[in-house]
Amino acid sequence: MNQRYAWPIAVAALIALPFVYRDPYHLHILILILIWSFAYTSWSLMGRFGLVSLGHGGFMGVGAYVTALLWNHLGLSPWIGIPIALVSAGALALVVAYPCFRFRITGHYFALVTLALSGIVLQVITATRDYTGGSLGYTPERTKGNNIVALQFDDKIVWYLIALAVWLAGLLIWHVVDRSMSRYAMEAISEDEDAAAAAGVNVTFEKLRITVISALMTALAGALYCQYQMFISPDTVSGIAVSLQMVFAVVVGGIYVALGPTVGAIITLLLAEFLRIFFGTKAVGWDNLVYGVLLVLFIIFLPKGILGSILERVKVGPAKAPVVKKPA
């Protein structure tokens, strides 16, 4: 009963929030949290099945740069540019992931192959500096005021609502996957690929599907980040550091629960802002230092993440109520 009403109320409260409370700085932080939460959720979609990708920085970079490049050089509206960017990221995911899964590249090897992918995207962006601005970063051309065609808004409330919608869509996708047969297939695969294949699971197809979904979502996050911030650089949207940042936030928040990546995003972004405000420019590096220490401590002592561990406590705790599944 509580569960049934909790979600709609929470969503309604989140939608109403910017109309009641409109401090631009806090709204800005919220928007960033929502966009990154979406990116982290898309990573956890794969990560929870043991498909540890260090290539998601690459997908995010493709999403951001393809959208921005098409807008600046060809004048293509992001409404067309974003789908093209998504298709590019999806194609990239297919090209890299299909042979990986076909030839049973798993575990360490998969992580390192995808690491190479991050590296390639970063180097290509840096090498084509005549078009992409290289490591100095890149700015999509500004239009005046709110412009729907250019997907540029001065109003933070609009961005907040867009980010909220995308974040909710991400959670919905997570939920659908969680409830699907795919989930059982993927869990079987992560336990033992041969046994899963023998039981009739199409291993390559299942893994490929979840990877492409995850890559598409990550690319969308990259494109949104680009449209919102109006500035992208290889360091902030692509490369190995971004990939590791995703892994870190998800592990801290909780990899096996729907809101885990969101909790991870809240913690990491607030921590970064907190250190930035209290230490100012002296804080350069401190946030990552704290992240790194936390990441190591979490993996050693709390591998299920903050939210995952809390939920587990609650479930195991007082008078475990029998779970009755209602027919849909």
Partner: protein
């Protein structure tokens, strides 16, 4: 036209030789990582950051305390060796029984720690030793002595490790553990001790690489990112834990980077190398020298 071709060939030859010199260094880096992987079955994502710390160690010893280069080098090597052992003791050992991917991610966390520690402690300035070794001009080609020195020292380092692994009791135990983790504990080998020694040796190799790299490159907190990923790819391409494969792959990669850099920007050399890696993973997923099953 003819003179153009001549010049071109000289450049080509110079690039090939420089590729070989680079290959020696990369092979040294790959050897350390391969040793750790082959014996402990862990990938140190932060390996290049250990090298970075070693480079800072060299910088401060030589520039700040005025120690001579050849005295500072052993100190830096020991420093990074201790760091390697500490990394194993503090981070890897508690995770050895967990899923392997957790160890990978934990060392990813250490990567953040070391990088940001360097940022906080040393700042983001580029620093160098201020030692400028002369350039060797030979038949219109130019090679810097620092590269030749690095190549020679890297080869010597690898030979020393080879002798250690084949001629000493500890080395034999390390190789035995790499072959069968469970049985060696029953044979009376102290696995924990061997792991710690292996980590220290891996760290020492990173330290040696640091001493050599610091001659050629400026130190900054993110210097690890410029050769770290390449090192992993070399190890995977050679087959993780396969020393000979890593050695061959290092030279293949170095040539691709060097020749790719000759025809276009250096970044494209890296792009080519990364692309080559992904293609090779599909052709030979088990590594360059793996037998096809």
């Amino acid at each position: 036209m003819e003179s153009f071709l001549e010049i071109f060939d000289i450049y080509l030859l110079e690039a090939v030789v420089n590729g070989i010199l680079l290959g020696g260094l990369l092979a040294l880096l790959a050897l350390g990582l391969n040793l750790i992987f082959g014996v402990i079955d862990v990938t140190w994502i932060c390996y290049a950051e250990l090298v970075m710390i070693g480079m800072y160690g060299m910088y401060f010893l030589v520039q700040y305390y005025g120690v001579s280069y050849f005295l500072a080098a052993p100190v830096a090597i020991v420093l990074v060796a201790i760091l390697g052992a500490a990394l194993h003791y503090l981070v890897i050992a508690p995770l050895l029984s967990g899923p392997p991917i957790n160890q990978l991610l934990a060392t990813g966390g250490v990567l953040f720690v070391l990088q940001s520690f360097a940022t906080v402690a040393f700042g983001i300035d580029f620093r160098n030793l201020g030692i400028r070794l002369p350039v060797l001009a030979f038949a219109d080609m130019h090679f810097s002595y620092s590269r030749l020195l690095a190549f020679g020292a890297a080869l010597i380092g690898m030979v020393v490790v080879y002798l250690f692994m084949t001629r000493t009791y500890t080395g034999t135990a390390i190789r035995a553990i790499a072959q069968d983790r469970q049985i060696m504990a029953l044979m009376g080998v102290d696995t924990k001790k061997i792991y710690l020694i292996t980590s220290a040796v891996g760290g020492a190799l990173a330290g040696l690489a640091a001493c050599l790299l610091v001659l050629q490159y400026d130190v900054h907190p993110f210097v690890g990112l410029s050769f770290g990923p390449i090192t992993f790819l070399i190890c995977v391409l050679g087959g993780l834990g396969n020393f000979v494969g890593g050695f061959v792959a290092a030279f293949v990669f170095a040539e691709i980077i060097s020749l790719g850099g000759l025809f276009s920007d250096l970044e494209w050399g890296y792009v080519l190398a990364f692309g080559f890696f992904i293609i090779m993973m599909f052709i030979r997923p088990g590594g360059l020298l793996a037998r096809r099953s």
